[in-house]
Symmetry: C2
Subunit: 246 residues, 2 copies
């Protein structure tokens, strides 16, 4: 069912979209996919964007360019309730359920509507390795009832589409997955893990039942392998590369 009530052959269209995404070999394809999805479902906007404390790493979608520029230039990531809310959640969320109290948020919403974003929205948070975070959003202009029916009918599709978008985005951004070239020895992993858990060198050594001298050898060895300048840096890199868990 499209948002306007007309029928679509749900499963086939979803498969077509996902396969198209799978076959995409360039960023352009993701942009085109957002437009196809928008047209297929008959909604106003479809957007995928990678969210990053440093600003948008990559994004594609059907929002007006003016709005996108405004958003970036104003650094709205900091106040956008969609970002903030989704960042703490796992399951997709309807914009109505987010926290729109607060002056900045209200003003932001109003401005977004002025740029044609629509009065309804539904966002799917997605997380990849190394703390990567992205959002897949659909938005529209309609009544609450219509929108509820639409999201209820398609939330699963949207989760899958979001997943495939993110998969491609990760493929295109390979510096996220440099090479697992340098692996750490088991003992080095232990050391890095405990340090990342807040243990001091002395505590770590005691926990591992080795002398602090030996521990230092591991730390230095790990630091060398990871190309890190100090212990904190080494732990940060080990975490970022998924070599240890906390």
């Amino acid at each position: 069912m499209r948002v306007d009530g007309s029928k679509i052959t749900r499963q086939d269209d979803l498969n077509r979209i996902l396969e198209a995404l799978d076959d995409t070999s360039e960023l352009e394809g993701l942009q085109r996919a957002t437009e196809e999805i928008r047209d297929l479902y008959g909604i106003n906007h479809v957007v995928y964007h990678w969210v990053d404390s440093a600003g948008e790493q990559y994004g594609c979608g059907t929002y007006a360019n003016a709005w996108r520029e405004r958003y970036l230039q104003q650094n709205y990531i900091r106040i956008d309730p969609v970002i903030i809310g989704c960042y703490q959640r796992f399951h997709p969320v309807d914009w109505k359920r987010l926290d729109w109290t607060g002056k900045a948020a209200r003003a932001f919403l109003q401005e977004a509507r002025a740029y044609g974003v629509g009065n309804q929205g539904f966002s799917v948070p997605i997380r990849g390795p190394n703390g990567q975070f992205a959002l897949f959003t659909v938005s529209h202009d309609c009544d609450d009832d219509v929108w509820s029916a639409f999201t209820a009918a398609h939330s699963r599709d949207l989760i899958l589409i979001a997943h495939y978008f993110n998969r491609k985005a990760l493929e295109f951004e390979p510096n996220r997955q440099p090479e697992a070239a340098q692996t750490l020895s088991p003992r080095e992993v232990d050391a890095m893990t405990l340090l990342a858990m807040g243990y001091s060198r002395a505590q770590t050594a005691e926990t591992l039942s080795i002398s602090e001298h030996t521990l230092r050898v591991y730390i230095e060895s790990a630091r060398f392998k990871l190309g890190a300048m100090n212990t904190t840096h080494a732990v940060a890199r080990a975490l970022a590369r998924g070599l240890i868990m906390v």
Copy 2:
């Protein structure tokens, strides 16, 4: 299509499973769901488990209890190529594509088979807020061809099921969330970011054009907010929670 080739009404059964998961209000329900899914697809095992360096936080599934105990007791998380491999990936992965070189991994695989895990496997990595990480795995005993066909036919279903499992697990484990609320101030983010990049305190202060004393205040403040015991711990947590990027 089931793994043995017989047909199932794909969409309806999937919907039933997902709705059952949605309606579950106790951990027991997840356990039952794994068994239902196993029977529905006609495979050997279905497992969902939360992965954590400290050991398994929560898990349910159809593996033999003996194997589960053995796994925990031996702390196989450290060497399990499924864990290690999925931790660096986003998309689900067939076990065959993982790295099974290495003596420990080989021995592990053999032991797992001895406990009836099966010779084929397919695991879906899932990530939630705060660096939460979990795996949803299906395993079986069959030829490569049969397994390939099965995973190709159902990988999308499995992604969705994994998503719903994790959603419930997060609901049941709300103590992940409280600490999450703590956000860092912009300056604190700057400090943590530079430290994670390997800068010393002196370099960081200089880069931010503030005195080292001031920088220390940020570090301590961030450490406090993050409940960290030292700078390295604070950086590790900030990274794990996605508050900073490197």
